[in-house]
Amino acid sequence: MATTACFTIVSKNDIPIYEAEVGSAVRQKQEQVHQHQFILHAALDLVQDIAWTTSAMFLKSVDRFNDLTVSHFFSLTNNSIHTRLMLLHDSRNEDGIKNFFQEVHELYIKTLLNPLYLLGSRITSSHFDTRVRALARKYL
């Protein structure tokens, strides 16, 4: 099982709208959390370059840092300015990650079908949070 994983949903203009540390390791020092966010943001540039060349939605491994890899999943069909799901992890479980992304993507679609939800604003629903963590435990 993965020991560390940091999952983020990033929206327009690279503003994160949802973040969760979903690793099963107990001790998460504060610096590690900041470092994870930093790594994820650094990977955004690489993603931008690849974005237009492929029409797939799931990019397996975009960037590596020490022993952590960043995986990426495009949400709103197409790239540059729209919503992306990013996961920082150190596991090798490709299929599990793909399934995880797909399930969270479905949750995200359901969230944004709410006409009162402003596109690109933070997702604050605790139900969403619970579901994401449950999915993380299941697939990662």
Partner: protein, 212 residues
Amino acid sequence: MIGVGKAKQYGNVLDKPLSRGRQEVSLSAFAFLFSELVQYNQTQVDNIAELERRLEDAGYAVGARVLELLCHRDKGNRRETRLLGILSFIHSTVWKVLFGKVADSLEKGTEHEDEYMISEKELLVNRFISVPKDMGAFNCGAFVAGIVRGVLDGAGFPAVVSAHFVPIEGQQRPRTTILIKFAEEVIKLLLQILKEFFVFVARKPRKSQYCP
């Protein structure tokens, strides 16, 4: 309680499945809702341009969501990276889901490189709306133009979309045309992709004349 059917009651909207559900929505309910939307906006604004802009903004929100939903349901999570691809997606799939039929035609504008038009004999949203003479060229199709803009923006092709009446001889009611004008960077990107394609094709290895 009125209307308790066999549908399962879900605790939270996030648990509900994303499947198709019942395809049909009552037309009169929609017409009523839309007319209320237009009337409400009419009380808030002073001029026609503002009213069109508000309807467009309402449509934009719909378009962005429709894009996500359809991409997930129908296309199995493949994204569109080509301009023609996204246009034909709007023209057939989106129209079919929203209005029950594909759009009448999709044309490329002749004067400018970056203009495309989708036309429809009679837009569903305009069916029960009559525009008084003093409102001039106001078209409630601005709502549909907003939907198209939302879809294009979500796909990464920024564009300015507007709805126009085009009179056709032989018909009483004019045809409605949605005019899509793409932003510069989209055209540049399109040309770039085309250029790369040609370079790739031209670089096919040829047998050199100088080989012994």
